[in-house]
């Protein structure tokens, strides 16, 4: 093989590939496809009956989380049930492993595709349960419904028969 033929072969490939459409996605204008299972900011489902947090304050998500992201403060209500006083979520510590969602026994915590987590202030990273409800509902609006059921482990779990 004459010297330089390897380089010329490379050049030929470069011209061939250069003629193709670029694979780049111009981000702020266009967003690449996001798979259904994408793990974004953890959201929370609204309790339809009480119009509040679905969370029952069991504390499993607190235990399951490897990074102490979640803090659930509970107290005893008038009828002896457990009442969630405050649900805090520190986005700055979260690694989006979704162990909390796996742990939640009542499906209060939900997957969202929200990855716009920027705040101007560090304190803005700590959000509460109601903000998580907003995030979840906003995310649901912007998501088509049919891709919600594409395999085991990702079906929407609804309990107390509210479907």
């Amino acid at each position: 093989m004459p010297l330089g033929s390897g380089i010329l072969k490379g050049f030929a490939t470069v011209f061939k590939v250069g003629a193709r459409k670029p694979a780049t996605v111009m981000y702020p204008e266009n967003v690449r496809d996001i798979a259904y299972r994408f793990r974004g900011q953890v959201g929370m489902r609204r309790d339809e009956v009480a119009n509040g947090l679905t969370c029952v304050g069991c504390g499993l998500c607190e235990t399951a989380c490897p990074n102490d992201v979640i803090r659930v403060d509970t107290s005893e209500g008038e009828d002896g049930t457990r009442v969630v006083d405050r649900y805090l979520f520190d986005v700055g510590r979260c690694v989006f492993c979704y162990f909390c969602i796996e742990a939640c026994p009542v499906d209060a915590l939900q997957r969202t595709h929200d990855f716009h987590l920027v705040t101007e202030d560090r304190r803005g990273l700590v959000i509460d349960g109601f903000k998580m409800i907003d995030i979840y509902e906003h995310d649901l609006e912007n998501r088509s419904l049919e891709d919600q059921n594409i395999g085991p482990g990702t079906r929407p779990r609804l309990w107390f028969g509210d479907d």
Binding site: R37, A64, V95, F96, G153
Partner: protein, 410 residues
């Protein structure tokens, strides 16, 4: 008196033997060190006479952190070590725990196949990063961009399977965990393999005369030296030693898959390049076979071991079924609790033998965890292999042993 830093004394007394001698600091932010590593290079003119890697800039104490988490929480830490091949790290970690619990035989075939396929896909992704950055160090820009383009497709497959591209935290002790791969995943992987080609990179680099003159005969590591330094993975096979854990001690589903181990005897940078390039071809073969086997499995094949004490019940049942609820709470609160003992398990990661060593005291957290990270062990060869070469050859050599600083420093 001048301030003496700790690392300066690593060099001992630098004796002035010629006028051209000087000490060169490469890094910690040098682009070709692939992260934050510092190389103290003693040069005589252009020739390297001594080379000392200085590591630890990225130390996060992952091993210690794993000891402060339960076994499940440690999964999230493992994919932050070798972030170019997260699923491989998850897999090694979990298989070591499974060995500690003596349940290797209980892993169902479906989980094994998925693990194998995902590990090979991560090998592809990791080698893409390597081929791109290595070529970039040597001066080829296109290879880098094309590599990342292909890698993006692989990462998208990870995202479809588990939800994250890099920090996958995929799979759990006993199988795939609550998230089996989606039904469409097998077709997506097949479609990816159909559209995937390495020939572009191959034609760009393999025959290229400039690339060859930068890599042939450079950074030669003889086989005995490679063995005595404990090199593993492609860096060892590039020195002509046929050792691969996938063949030597088959784990997961590798014993039912037909593939070859590329070995090249020259021991130079080019040989290691060829090993990795051929490994990428083999990886696509392995993934394709895994997909065929997966398709042959019955639709209801289990993907988790039949161990209620390890694998959470079906999440849909939890609110309605008292036993499931109790089991679920027990598992989340206490997690996996291996019996007292110790276990080491190594898998063939993209960079070499990736081993995890655990000592368990019977509680839910490991008493001791140690990671045998291939990048760290392989980096030791720099001291010998760089000597006698030029400074530019050192750059090619670092690229060819394929280190990831997240794994070196842990």
């Amino acid at each position: 008196m001048s301030v003496e830093t700790g690392t300066a004394s690593m060099f001992g007394d630098v004796e002035q033997v010629s006028e051209n001698q000087m000490v060169l600091n490469m890094g910690p932010q040098h682009p070709s060190t692939h992260g934050v590593m510092r190389l103290l290079i003693e040069v005589d003119g252009e020739t390297v006479t001594k080379c000392t890697p200085d590591v630890g800039f990225l130390h996060r104490g992952v091993e210690k952190l794993i000891e402060t988490h339960d076994y499940r929480g440690g999964i999230t830490l493992t994919d932050r070590m070798d972030y170019t091949a997260g699923p491989s790290n998850n897999m090694g970690y979990l298989m070591a725990i499974e060995k500690l619990m003596g349940m290797e035989d209980e892993i169902p075939l479906r989980a094994k196949l998925i693990r194998t396929a995902v590990a090979e896909l991560s090998r592809l992704a990791s080698h893409h990063i390597w081929i791109g950055t290595h070529a970039l160090d040597i001066g080829a820009m296109s290879a880098f961009l094309w590599s990342l383009r292909e890698r993006e497709k692989i990462l998208y497959l990870f995202e479809q399977a588990c939800g994250a591209r890099l920090t996958t935290s995929f799979m759990r002790v006993g199988g795939t965990g609550p998230h089996d791969v989606p039904e469409s995943w097998v077709e997506n992987v097949d479609a990816f393999l159909d559209s995937y080609t390495l020939d572009e990179l191959n034609s760009l680099l393999t025959g290229n005369e400039i690339f060859q003159s930068r890599t042939r005969g450079v950074g030669v590591i003889p086989a005995e030296q490679a063995l005595s330094y404990g090199l593993t993975g492609p860096s060892l096979r590039g020195s002509g030693v046929d050792w691969d854990l996938r063949k030597a001690r088959p784990y997961a589903a590798y014993d039912m898959i037909d593939f070859e181990i590329p070995v090249f005897p020259e021991g130079d940078v080019y040989a290691r390049y060829l090993v990795r390039l051929n490994e990428m071809y083999q990886a696509t073969r392995i993934v394709r076979q895994c997909m065929e086997h997966l398709r042959d499995l019955p639709a209801d094949a289990p993907s988790n071991a039949d161990r209620p004490d390890l694998v959470p019940p079906d999440v849909g049942r939890v609110p309605f079924d008292m036993e499931a609820m109790i089991n679920h709470f027990k598992l989340v609160m206490h997690g996996v609790q291996p019996p007292q003992g110790e276990a080491y398990f190594g898998i063939e990661g993209p960079k070499g033998e990736l081993g995890y060593y655990f000592v368990s005291d019977g509680s839910g957290m490991p008493y001791r965890c140690h990671v045998r990270s291939p990048s760290f062990v392989n980096l030791g060869i720099m001291e010998d292999a760089a000597v006698g070469g030029l400074i530019a050859d050192t750059v090619a050599l670092i690229g060819s042993i394929d280190i990831v600083l997240g794994e070196v420093d842990r």
